[in-house]
């Protein structure tokens, strides 16, 4: 079998076996959940209830503010305690809605059923927005907005991203194993909105059982084609996925629809299905909790659940807790505190102990060119680094700094452990600042 692939990339240790066999397990909500008003790319949501108000599971508690924004729904039943400044997994404290949980009243979702076939694309887009759906692969871009590409850019290739190239994470894998049919039903709905010519469901070759399962389920959906991709990081990056399927390069500074492609994560497909079919808003998600924990797990978690609560659910940390990471090891963000809550874009929580953390010791660049060989965007990472460290942002920009997708591959391969990606984030921020 020929595996689809892209240029560059690398092969970090996958470590998916830690949690790949753990079935999705629903966790009981904690005593208090914190729902940040900013959980997506775009303007934060606006609170629409009063302090002390009672809330129910799935009740809308904040409204989307403008086009690129979505509403927020309560993940539990209980009492709204007000907006507090609370630690946020993307850094710094941000306003969050504090809700005291009423365990008695918190149950599973019951909502009115609808027939997706009877809905027009406009109605579907409206439901998707009202349900607070954002990209579940981590980027958390409002899905209703993405579902409306410019009319002059028709979608030829709809790509459903099940690559899950981040090491350790298995939430998409479990979803593909346990909710195969629902993914396809969700894709069917997206299909009805976008009218693509071709539909691909893309999975990396380290998840062959998911491939088989998907192929089997897809026999009743003749439009769905399953593509198997080389297990290589960052295969799941939009541009790399589009390239490995269509052979086309998304233009520099452009988006996939510039080459007629559209990428959506498998988790988002399920969320869309649940919203359209069962009127269920996005208030819970699957989170892999893995790394140095006793029982690595895949949990179905109410949004707003603090990380530390989930870490307890895995029977605790092995060794000394040194790092809590929101997301996977390649792009995830190290947290200041375990109090941070799960948000819509939280794919996983990675725990590292004293043995797992990497030493911060760096040494001089020996010009080994590894970073250049692996950059999926063909950037000269070491040169970018050189110019950024000399504060020469103009030259860095000429060399393509703004195209960097911050995938972390260059830092990963650098034998001198230079935090290249960090330099690039800094350089981009400096350029953005100067433009203002």
């Amino acid at each position: 079998m020929k595996l689809l692939s892209f240029k560059g990339g690398t092969h970090p240790l996958e470590r998916k076996e830690l949690s790949s066999d753990a079935h999705i397990k629903r966790v009981e909500p904690p005593e208090i959940v914190y729902l940040p008003l900013s959980q997506h790319t775009g303007a934060p949501s606006k609170v629409i209830i009063e302090k002390k108000d009672e809330v129910t599971v799935g009740m809308k508690i904040a409204e989307g503010d403008g086009k690129i924004s979505v509403p927020l729904h309560s993940s539990v039943a209980g009492v709204f305690m007000g907006v507090v400044d609370y630690p946020h997994p993307l850094g710094e404290k941000k306003p969050a809605m504090k809700i005291k949980v009423d365990h008695e009243k918190t149950g599973e979702w019951e909502g009115k059923e609808r027939d997706p076939e009877s809905l027009s694309p406009e109605e579907i887009i409206k439901i998707v927005r009202e349900s607070g759906i954002v990209g579940m692969g981590g980027a958390a871009f409002p899905t209703h907005f993405k579902l409306q590409p410019p009319p002059d850019k028709p979608i030829a290739d709809l790509i459903i991203n099940g690559a899950e190239c981040e090491p350790f994470l298995t939430s998409d894998y479990r979803l593909m194993m346990e909710r195969t049919e629902d993914i396809l039903k969700g894709v069917d709905i997206i299909r009805r909105v976008l009218n693509p010519e071709r539909i691909w469901i893309s999975i990396e070759s380290n998840k062959m059982d998911a491939v088989e399962k998907m192929k089997e389920a897809a026999s009743t959906y003749p439009w769905a084609k399953i593509t198997v991709h080389a297990t290589k990081y960052p295969q799941g990056s939009e541009k790399q996925l589009v390239q490995s399927i269509t052979g086309l390069e998304v233009p520099d500074g452009g988006l996939p629809f510039d080459v007629g492609a559209y990428v959506q994560n498998v988790g988002t497909a399920v969320a869309i299905y649940e919203a359209v079919r069962y009127s269920k808003p996005l208030y819970e998600r699957i989170v892999t909790v893995t790394g140095s924990v006793r029982e690595p797990s895949n949990f179905l978690v109410p949004i707003g659940t603090p990380f530390e609560y989930l870490i307890e659910q895995t029977s605790g940390v092995i060794g000394e807790l040194k790092k809590i990471i929101n997301g996977g090891p390649m792009m995830g963000i190290a947290q200041v505190t375990g109090e941070v809550p799960v948000i819509k874009g939280t794919t996983g929580i990675l725990i590292q102990n004293e043995e797992e953390i990497i030493p911060g010791q760096t040494s001089a660049c020996i010009r080994c060119a590894s970073c250049i060989d692996i950059c999926p965007l063909n950037l000269m990472s070491t040169e970018l680094y050189k110019f950024i460290s000399m504060d020469n942002f103009d030259r860095a920009e000429e060399l393509g700094l703004l195209s960097c997708i911050e995938c972390g591959t260059c830092s990963y391969v650098c034998p001198s452990n230079i935090p290249l990606t960090q330099y690039f984030k800094y350089g981009k921020a400096m350029i953005a600042k100067r433009r203002k």
Binding site: D252, M330, A364, C368, L377, M380, S416, T421
Partner: protein, 321 residues
């Protein structure tokens, strides 16, 4: 306390130290070979040269209050390579001066590891050749295990220097002979310490290529272009010896495998790498045939080292542009 370092939170097993010590390991077969062929003095010179290199780096960093990195392996490599580039019967201070110059002037004054433009060992050798030409090219010792018959009268010269002395037809025949080429390949000829056995150098380099600690494209294009160009010149009668002799004699193999591939002083892009290798090979042959020195390897690579910052401007096409 939770640690807050930026992503990624895992790192590849490759490390600068591993690369450096890998290169040192790859030089060991050739070192053993030179002790076998030239005797214990070869080891003495290598050890002396390494000690000088490491001590120079340590002292420099101590005095200038920089981070002490003399144990990262790079100075040891320079030490070994300097010794590999001098004749075994050169006075001990040649090794010391060569290593000192390589580390102090060529490496540290340029800013230390990663910032030097020239390969320190090669520049060290060039300095020695320019300062004490008679010591560096005149006197050669033959290997202790005997020499090729037919060249008996010439035991004081390397096969390559013979070429520069308008040799007789008979001698040229001897140089082109199977026996000669085999000896060059296995290592039973006079020459610099480390140049002697192409076979042992190749074994070491193979390890580096597999580990990706050295770029095979540079070695292939360098040695390959020496072969092709000298082959053309042999066919049209410009050089009396065949291209196999050209690549096996002198430092072509040592330079092409271990010095041209020095990461710090070679280009970082694919295009640059090929141009670097091919350009170096061409310069080498031109210097050998028309230059004043019998050996063109060091200067050819040094010239390409100098061009490397320029070659690094051959940026690959950015994705989507």
């Amino acid at each position: 306390m939770l640690q807050l370092s930026p992503a990624p939170h895992i790192s590849s097993p490759k490390s600068t130290k591993k690369i450096m010590y890998g290169v040192i390991g790859a030089l060991i077969p050739a070192l053993v070979g030179s002790v076998f062929f030239f005797g214990w003095r070869a080891l003495f010179l290598v050890v002396l040269s390494v000690l000088t290199a490491v001590a120079t780096e340590w002292l420099f960093q101590l005095i200038t209050h920089r981070e002490i990195t003399c144990s990262d392996g790079s100075a040891i490599i320079t030490g070994i390579l300097v010794a590999f580039n001098i004749p075994v019967n050169s006075p001990w201070w040649i090794a010391v001066v060569g290593s000192f110059f390589a580390i102090f002037v060529v490496k540290q004054l340029f800013g230390g590891l990663g910032y030097n433009i020239f390969n320190p060992a090669l520049a060290g050798r060039a300095f020695l050749v320019a300062s004490w030409p008679s010591l560096m090219t005149g006197k050669w010792s033959s290997p202790v295990h005997g020499f090729i018959s037919g060249l008996d009268g010439m035991t004081q010269a390397t096969p390559l220097t013979i070429l520069n002395m308008s040799p007789s037809l008979e001698l040229i025949q001897a140089l082109n002979s199977q026996t000669m080429l085999k000896a060059l390949f296995v290592g039973n000829v006079g020459g610099c310490l480390g140049e002697t056995s192409c076979l042992l150098l190749l074994i070491g380099a193979l390890f580096l290529f597999i580990k990706r600690y050295a770029d095979w494209r540079i070695s292939l294009s360098y040695i390959g272009s020496v072969f092709i160009l000298s082959g053309i010149f042999y066919l049209v009668g410009v050089t009396p010896v065949n291209p196999v002799f050209h690549i096996l004699s002198g430092g072509v193999i040592l330079g092409g495998l271990f010095m041209a591939t020095d990461m710090v002083t070679s280009p970082v892009t694919t295009k640059g790498v090929w141009i670097f290798g091919i350009g170096g090979g061409i310069f080498c042959v031109l210097i050998r045939i028309w230059g004043g020195y019998p050996e063109g390897v060091s200067y050819s690579i040094l010239i390409m080292n100098m061009l490397t910052p320029l070659l690094d401007r051959l940026q690959p096409r950015i994705f989507g542009r």
